[in-house]
């Protein structure tokens, strides 16, 4: 935990620096009779972020905060495994949206999660994995007219569009 605290502070400090540099693309100084320029608001806030990161590092050095005192691992085996299995699953789902569309990705993700992570029976898994995308289709595409991406499955939806839209 102690090492993670420092790594996070350094990374966030670097990010603050990047934000400052990026904000400086617009004038961040004082425009006479107008007040701050367009970049001033984010620039100075990023500067405060940088100061906070340095402050966090000082606290780390002095061992003042609970994470900087803790010798426990930032993530134990269980946490790391769940993070990769679950976070990876969500990452995969979002990636799949570009290929098989929102509905295909949702069905596959639910199949993966409920059946393989949750170890539920197929009788539980199938109704959820099929029911959720169908319900979402009627709610979003049909009722709200928010057309969710279909990816390469678009042709399959054309008959449905004819009936419901």
């Amino acid at each position: 935990m102690r090492r993670a605290e420092l790594v996070a502070a350094v990374l966030m400090a670097a990010f603050s620096g990047y934000l400052m540099w990026k904000s400086a693309e617009l004038p961040f100084g004082w425009v006479p009779d107008e007040g701050p320029g367009g970049g001033a608001f984010p620039f100075w806030l990023s500067a405060i972020m940088l100061v906070c990161c340095v402050w966090i590092m000082v606290n780390w050095y002095l061992r003042k905060t609970p994470p900087s005192q803790s010798e426990e691992p930032f993530m134990d085996d269980y946490a790391r495994r769940m993070f990769f299995l679950v976070g990876g699953g969500v990452f995969g789902m979002i990636g799949l949206v570009h290929i098989v569309g929102m509905y295909g990705a949702i069905a596959l993700f639910l199949l993966y999660y409920v059946r393989f992570l949750g170890r539920h029976s197929w009788r539980t898994t199938i109704p959820i994995a099929v029911g959720a995308p169908v319900a979402a289709f009627f709610f979003f595409d049909v009722a709200l007219r928010i057309v969710l991406p279909k990816g390469y499955l678009e042709p399959l939806f054309i008959p449905l569009y004819r009936i419901f839209l």
Binding site: L26, E34, G38, G39, V86, V114, I128, L144, I146
Partner: protein, 501 residues
């Protein structure tokens, strides 16, 4: 009298079949969300906000407020039955609710919780109805410097009062504000902070992307990590005579719920505080002033009544500054405020003048939501207990799916969905290191309002920063805000001075 006629008009809005249906649906969803460990009102409101585009703004707001309300009731259910707070707002309910359940008095704890919630809700809504128009009337005179000063105060309360790590809290506020500045600079129209020249940043970062990332994905990852192992569910037998007896018993705990309701309401108004500290404080004070403080923590009904009345009162209290000043009093109301902006309503005192139907419809809906949440909670306890058995491995993927769609729907853009994932994972990792997330969500909602207010104020004064100090209302507010910002520093110096002595 004028208030009563407005309120009557509000009830006409609520009794519209669509709105009444949404109140009932909202409290039911809220009760469920509140009861599920790992999900609270803020998660429910953030994830479900995109779904409300189906109905008009007033109905959408009524629905979301009903969820907020229902979740305050629901949180007690798992606190008592499982010993895990259903939402952070129900932490204090576990202290005495769980021991009661272990003693075989789960039914008593559940009914007292519902009764106290109803009383806390009723008292706070009555206070709300009285205070809101007054405050809005005063706030009508507020100009840009006053609004900016109020926002500064909102952020300052996080630093001075939240009790989280100070540099991490300030960091969280600033990062939210910087993210809110992404997109086009409103004054000059120039693009700014277009990271890596990705065109998706041109339309800015929608607050929902951050909110769903933090409260959908981040929260689920967090809950999955901490909720390992099996939990033991207590048994509750609910009978009609039992319900009536315990409700009468609740009335006798008047001291607890009076403390809870009043404290909750006023603590709820403060931006940094909200329902969680409100209920903890109510518990603490009730315990301190009780005849036998040692009975607390071992199954004392008064220890359930105080926090439960307080968290409902606080949820109402936090809506007061949101509606009248445009400054949210809690993370959940920050998201409601962001929703109002999406629907084209400008939060603040002008709502009371221009959108009376919306404002009074919402206020009246709180009365209805409170009543229905109470009735549904008491009437369907067995159903909620059954739902608590729902495995987390079904609930969690459902939340991820709702987050995916919720992240996409507002701007119909996959860029937002990827960004939401990054925010969610980042929030989870930073949260493990005690970085508070609520300030960032509040900041990304308030940022687009705060920055132009600050710059317009400076335009008025010709770039003179003293405008925030010299105006009669803005001045004191700014001074209090600065004092709150310096509070941790003063405490530090105080402790250093006292140490050698």
């Amino acid at each position: 009298m004028e208030i009563l006629s407005h309120l009557a008009g509000g009830f006409l809005v609520v009794f519209d079949p669509l709105n009444l249906g949404l109140v009932i649906l909202g409290v039911t969803v809220g009760l469920f969300i509140g009861a599920m460990p790992g999900l609270g009102s803020v998660n429910g409101v953030a994830i479900l906000l995109p779904m409300t585009f189906l109905v008009p703004p007033t109905s959408a707001m009524i629905f979301l407020a009903a969820i907020y309300y229902g979740a305050m009731y629901g949180g007690a259910i798992s606190s008592i039955m499982l010993g895990i707070p259903g939402a952070s707002t129900a932490v204090a309910t576990t202290f005495d609710g769980r021991p009661l359940a272990l003693k075989g008095q789960a039914d008593k704890a559940l009914i007292v919780a519902a009764g106290a919630s109803f009383i806390g809700g009723t008292i706070s809504i009555a206070l709300f109805t009285g205070f809101a128009p007054l405050l809005a009337h005063v706030a009508l005179d507020f100009g840009d410097p006053e609004i900016f000063a109020l926002m500064l105060l909102a952020f300052a309360t996080f630093v001075g009062l939240s009790g989280d790590d100070v540099p991490k809290t300030i960091f969280s506020i600033c990062i939210g504000l910087v993210f809110s500045a992404v997109g086009l600079d409103i004054m000059s129209g120039e693009p700014r902070l277009i990271f890596m020249d990705i065109s998706g940043f041109m339309h800015g970062i929608n607050f929902l992307v951050l909110a769903i990332g933090v409260y959908g994905i981040g929260e689920m990852l967090w809950t999955i990590e901490i909720s390992r192992g099996e939990t033991q569910m207590s048994k509750a037998t609910i009978t009609l005579p039992g319900i009536l007896a315990h409700l009468l018993g609740t009335l006798k705990l008047w001291k607890s719920w009076t403390i809870g309701s009043l404290l909750g309401f006023f603590v709820g108004i403060l931006p940094a505080a909200g329902a969680t500290p409100g209920s903890l404080m109510a518990y603490g004070i009730t315990k301190m002033t009780a005849k036998d403080p040692r009975a607390f923590g071992k199954g004392e009904a008064a220890g359930v009544a105080a926090p439960e009345s307080a968290n409902n009162a606080a949820s109402t209290g936090s809506m007061l500054p949101m509606l009248t000043l445009g400054i949210p009093g809690s993370p959940t109301t920050a998201i409601l405020l962001g929703g109002m902006v999406i629907w084209g309503l400008i939060p603040g005192p002008m709502l009371f003048v221009e959108q009376t139907e919306f404002v009074w419809g919402l206020i009246a809906s709180l009365y209805a939501a409170n009543l229905f949440a109470f009735l549904i909670n008491i009437g369907f306890v067995p159903a909620f207990l059954w739902m608590l058995k729902m495995p987390f491995t079904i609930l969690a993927p459902t939340i991820f799916v709702l987050s995916l769609i919720g992240g996409y729907a507002p701007d119909e853009n996959m860029h937002d969905v990827w960004l939401m994932l990054i925010f969610g994972v980042g929030a989870y990792l930073l949260r493990k290191l005690d970085y508070p997330m609520a300030p960032a969500v509040l900041a990304i909602v308030l940022g687009p309002i705060a920055e132009p207010k600050m710059r317009q104020s400076l335009l008025i004064s010709g770039g003179d920063i003293t405008i925030f100090f010299t105006r009669p209302i803005a001045g004191p507010i700014t001074v209090i805000a600065i004092a709150l910002l310096l509070l941790p520093l003063i405490q530090l110096i105080w402790r250093t001075i006292r140490k050698p002595a």
